[in-house]
Structures are given as structure tokens and as C-alpha cells.
Symmetry: none
Amino acid sequence: MHDTSPASAPLAGATDKRTSILRAAMTLIARNGFHGSPTAMIAAEAGVGAGTLYRYFADKDALIVAVHREVETRLNEWLQKDYPFGQSIRRRLDHYFIGLLRFFIDHPLEFKFLGQFYDSPYGVELRRDKIFSKPVGDAGCETIRGLLEQGVAEGIIKDLPLVLLFALFIGALTSAVRDHTHGFIDLHDGLQRRLADAFWDAIRQ
Amino acid sequence: MHDTSPASAPLAGATDKRTSILRAAMTLIARNGFHGSPTAMIAAEAGVGAGTLYRYFADKDALIVAVHREVETRLNEWLQKDYPFGQSIRRRLDHYFIGLLRFFIDHPLEFKFLGQFYDSPYGVELRRDKIFSKPVGDAGCETIRGLLEQGVAEGIIKDLPLVLLFALFIGALTSAVRDHTHGFIDLHDGLQRRLADAFWDAIRQ
Amino acid sequence: MHDTSPASAPLAGATDKRTSILRAAMTLIARNGFHGSPTAMIAAEAGVGAGTLYRYFADKDALIVAVHREVETRLNEWLQKDYPFGQSIRRRLDHYFIGLLRFFIDHPLEFKFLGQFYDSPYGVELRRDKIFSKPVGDAGCETIRGLLEQGVAEGIIKDLPLVLLFALFIGALTSAVRDHTHGFIDLHDGLQRRLADAFWDAIRQ
Amino acid sequence: MHDTSPASAPLAGATDKRTSILRAAMTLIARNGFHGSPTAMIAAEAGVGAGTLYRYFADKDALIVAVHREVETRLNEWLQKDYPFGQSIRRRLDHYFIGLLRFFIDHPLEFKFLGQFYDSPYGVELRRDKIFSKPVGDAGCETIRGLLEQGVAEGIIKDLPLVLLFALFIGALTSAVRDHTHGFIDLHDGLQRRLADAFWDAIRQ
DNA sequence: GATGAATGAGCTTTCATTCAT
DNA sequence: AATGAATGAAAGCTCATTCAT
């Protein structure tokens, strides 16, 4: 009953409310954290009644998880654009690296939300597999995991545990974005390129 | 009167209470986060009365800051052990990289606490400069920042903004430790070594 | 949003809760003082939940100030009834003196509440000017202050500082009411009359 | 065992501590009220340990009552100075009126403390009889009550209930002093005199 | 479906009092 | 006798959640 897919909503109005709540939740949580974002405030920001929230989500936790899912969906759609099928492994990893970089830089609220999410009890489990193993193509190998795996198999990439290769990938990326978000640095195109190169140097054989 | 240095306590008992509270706070916050750790729970875990906490710390915030200071102090002491003065830049950066890796692996609660701390209003500002610029030697240049700077000047390290070089350092490191802490991988000595090498490959000219 | 005028409440029920809380607060504070009246006790006496109080008043202080305002409003309305416009100064001062006497005798809780209020940080400043200078007519001179002033100007009343004349007025009045409230004396109509006469003897030229 | 008369204290030091506590309590309570004066603060102000307070007074209430007794004792001693035995009733009432006025003006902390005290649960009962009926001479009739009574009997003073006559006395007096304490007026000798005259006009036949 | 007033458990913090030293 | 560290009950206030309208 709760949190059904938007397809089942007979009225456009209902879907709008759900979307408003999701967007309000993400904005406020990114800005103030989970505990600085009471449901009443989220509802107010969304322009709906306090009780309405509970028609769309079982409870606050479910709302947060739904926000995460929604952000992730948009992120994945973003990464599928212009995917360089058939090109070199490095090229394809680059697509992911620069793509994520750009998405986070263009969507700082989403970045901050995900940061909050993954460092909370909500996201401990999900952390790993989401970005890591999300397929782009239907081949199933066009995931970051798949690319790293293939690179290792081909001897292009260092023979390190996949988890560690991914740690290098996601760690460098998120640390850099955080610095950008905090205003410590301006991650313009040139720096994005050089950061991706540095990452490649880290993992290449 | 609050939070005085332990040196002034004539009896071990008095200091023990403060220490118990600090340890309890770190443990619970690492486990449940700031908001999952009510002061009553911290006091109970420490084996003291609910009001006792406020004899040692002005309020919950002060307690959290004190835990951070205490952890940081131990971390810095740890990093000063066997510092390879006079050796190559790579050797000295390695000392920091492996040293932090080991500290966090040996002290998972401290690692999780710091993670919570730096992603909270408490630590946003402190994040960067603490580990980054903490001097080991009295020369003042024996900081991670100083070493990276010197490496860039000597043409050994890529000419990237310091902030970005540090992002590569701390990002790879914390991501790897998090995976270890979550049990996704066992960061034994060999892997630590190879991770440090990968980091070096990322930043070396 | 807090403490809005009752005019905006479409239903009697909503207003009743606010009124219940105000009445409960006044009763308990009159009986036990500010610090003998926890918000939980006020809520219980009002028959509402502990949190409900905070829907109507920002905090305990706001509630107390609102009680004061409400009592004062009723007192002023009471004093405006049958005001002897155009009659002698003595007659008009009498109206105030006897009017206040009667109001306090008829409303002992209000009297005790005001006593608590004016002897607290809330009311130190307000003490003087409220009753003293509250106009009855639109002429602006029909305040106790105005009447005393005019009486002095006309040579009917002793040429003492207004503040002192008012001290005689309010001091005698409240002391007498307090004795009545405490049961030391029964301030029936005859005594009220004779006390007003005594006050007049005190200030008349 | 608690709160013994100072005569029983073998050491001067002990008496000093009791006095310090009494003085500290009065000062802080006058300044901050009962609830703004924690026992820890009183002890600190008195320069003694927090527990020491409980060697001299059973609890905080007993301390407050003791402060009241002490202030009252000093007030009575003050009123006995230069008592005009044998002079007219008006002269003797004047002695009390001006004497109290002066004491309160000279001892604003004592005045504020008594104000707090009498408007609290502590002093409701005591209010009436203390100042009212405290004998100065050993004749027993040299109390304010006695003088008023005698004045009524002789036909000099209005035939009003004694309680009411006293209300006129104490009400005018305390109201005027409060205005002085709050800085609304300067109760210099001339005004004291004229206020006493006004009071006399109020009660004289 | 939508609302928002109402709730009360749970939070952080204070402070009168005790008691081992 | 004197201390002050320790206590825990009780305070004011917040907020996720419910439910009558």
C-alpha cells in the first residue's frame, strides 16, 4: 500500500505530492542532516499536510530509503547517457569516473544526501553494491565491477582485490567532490581530467 | 573547571570516571551515531549517574568535541612513532599512509567515530587541516601537506593542487578501511603495502 | 502561528484547549507559583497532552505572558464598566479603587497570579505602567495617573510625586486584598467604602 | 542538631561559616530569587563546600527560613533604637514608619529578600504577625498593633479593623520602597516625612 | 484522499541532597 | 567538622506518528 510505484497512481496530483515530498526531504536532509529535518518541516517544505507524508511512505525511514532510491535512479540514468560501448576499458572507466564527478558537482544536494545516507545506519549495507555493480548495458559486464574485473583479467589493471580497486575509485572521487562542495577547490574540467588520470595511474598495471 | 587536564587529578578514581565517559561515548557514537547515543545511555554504559556526565563536560557537544580531541591526540602520538626522518619523501608519505591504515584497522571504533565526527556540523571545518597539516617533527615541514608540497616542488609528484593530492591520499585510505571494517575485505600487511604503492602511482610524476 | 487571536478559530473545540491551558496555568501558578507549576502539571490540569501546550505557546514563558495579558484584558474591561465620566476626580478615582478591589475579591486566582507575575522577572518593568496608565476613555486623561495629575494641578490632591500617590493607591489596595484573600478579614462593601475613604484622606490636600 | 543558635558553637570558625552562608543566601536570593540561587551557588558564594551547608541547615527551606529570621532580628533591633517611649501615639507610629522606610532603603537586599519571602509559600503564614505584633518595649503594648489599637480606643485613629489599618501602613510603605528600589523615585528624607504624614492622614480620625 | 491538531515517549540538562574521604 | 564528587528525579521541550474531521 505504501510507497507504490508512480505508475499505479490514478491521478497526476497524487504523484506530484509524492515527488514534492521526496524533493523536500532530499533538500532538507542535504542541508540539515536527518535529525535537522523533522517530518513536519519536510511536509511544510513540500507544501502538504503533516499526515499526508504517511500516505506515501510508511514512516520516516521509508521516506529516506525512497529518496535514496530516487537519487540512485537518476544517477544511473545519467551514467547511461553516451556510454562508450565497445571502447577501451580505460575509456569506459573514465566515463564512469568523470560521469560521477560531473553528476555530483552538478547536483551538490544529491551528493550531500548520499554522503549522509551512506554514513548512517540506513546505508551501511547498500553502500557497496549499488554504484559498484549497477549494469549499464544488458550485457551485464558493463558495470564498474565488470570493467575492473575484465581489466585485471587482461593484465591491464593491477591484480588487487576488486573491492580495493573500487575503494581507490570511489574514495578519490568522493573526497575530491567533497572538497569542491566545501569550496576548497574548483573542480573544473581540466582538473577532472587530471584526477581521472591519476586514478588510472593508481590502478593500471 | 570542566574538562580539565587529567594531570590535576590526584586519584586514579576521579580520572577513571572521565575516561569511562569518553570511552563509552566513543563506543556508542561509533556504533549508533550521535543521535542514537542519548546521554543517559552514555552514562549507563560508562557506569556513572546521568548527572555525572555534566561534572566533566559542559554539555553533550563538549563531550563529543573532547572525544574527538582525545582520539586525535592518540592518533598523532601513534604517527610520531618511528617517523623516518631524513628518508625519501615517498618513504615518509608511506609512513603516514601505512600508519593511518594500521591505526584505523587496530582502532575501528575510533575510525567510525571520526567518520561520524567529520561528517557532522562539529567537524566540517576541522576535517581538512587536522590530519593534513599536523606536524610530526619540529621542522614544521614534516606534515602530509609539507611532504606533498616538497614532492611537487622537486618534480617527483604530479603538479596537482595540494587539496586534490590529499583527496587521493585520504579518500583511498578511508574507503579501504571502511571496507575492511565492514568485513568486505581483510586488509592484511601485504594489501596495505600494495594499496600504498597504488596511491604512490596515482600521485607520482 | 503561536498564540494567535481566538477569532481565527472556526471551531469552539480548538479555542477551548487554549483557554483550558490558560486557565490551568493561572490556577496552578496562583496556587503554587511559577516553579511549583511544571508544564506537565499544567497540561494535566488542562486535560491535554504534555506537547499540546507547545502548539499554543512557544514556551512556558510565552504561556505565562499570555496568561498575564488575558487577565489584564479582563481587568480593563471590568474597569470600563460604568465609568463615571464627567464626575468629580474623587468619584472617578473611587471607581478605580473600588473597581480593582471588587475585581480582585471576585477573582482571587487572578489576584494571586498578578502578585506572582509582578514580583518576577516577567513583570518588573510592566508593573508600574499597566494599571497606572491604562486609559479608560478616549480622552486619554482618564487613567489613574491622569486623575492624580489633574487632582494635583487643581490643588485637590497633595503635591506629591505621582509615583508616590500611586504607591499609596496600589499599596493600600493590594495589602487589603491580600488580607482578605488570606482570610484575615472580610472585605465587605462597607469596609471597601471606608478603605477608599481612608485612601482619599491620605492623598487629599 | 541543625540550625542551633550561635551560642552553642564552640569555635568562632563554625559560627563564621553559618553567617557566611546566611549572608550569601540572602544576597543571591535577593538578586536572583529562590530558584535562581542553587545551593551550590550559595555555598560557593559563602566560600564553603556544598555539603557544609547541610551541617548548619536541614535543607534549603530551613536555610531560607533562617535567613528570614536573621533579617527580622536585625530589623527589630534597628526599630528598637531610639524608640520614643512615652511620646504621642502618632510620634511612636512615625518611629516605626520612618524606621522601616529607612531600614529598607538602607538595606535593599534585605528588602528584596523579604519581598520574595512573603510572596512565597514560605511566608504566607508569617506575613501578618511578625512586624505587626513584635513588641519593642517589655510593656507588650509597644507594637504597631498595640499602638493602632490604643489609637482606635482613644478615638484618635479611625475605627477600622486593625488588619486594615495595618494594610494601609505596610502597603503604602512597601509600595513606596519598591519604587525607590526600582529607581522610579528617590525617597529622600523630605519625601519620607510627607509619606508618613499621608499615612497618618489616612488613618487619623 | 488529505489534513493538521493532538499526543506522549524520549531527549538534554539542572540541582537538592548524600556520603566516602 | 568539612568537603565536593556523585547522584537521579524531575524539569522544559521536540517530534514521529495517529486519527477525527
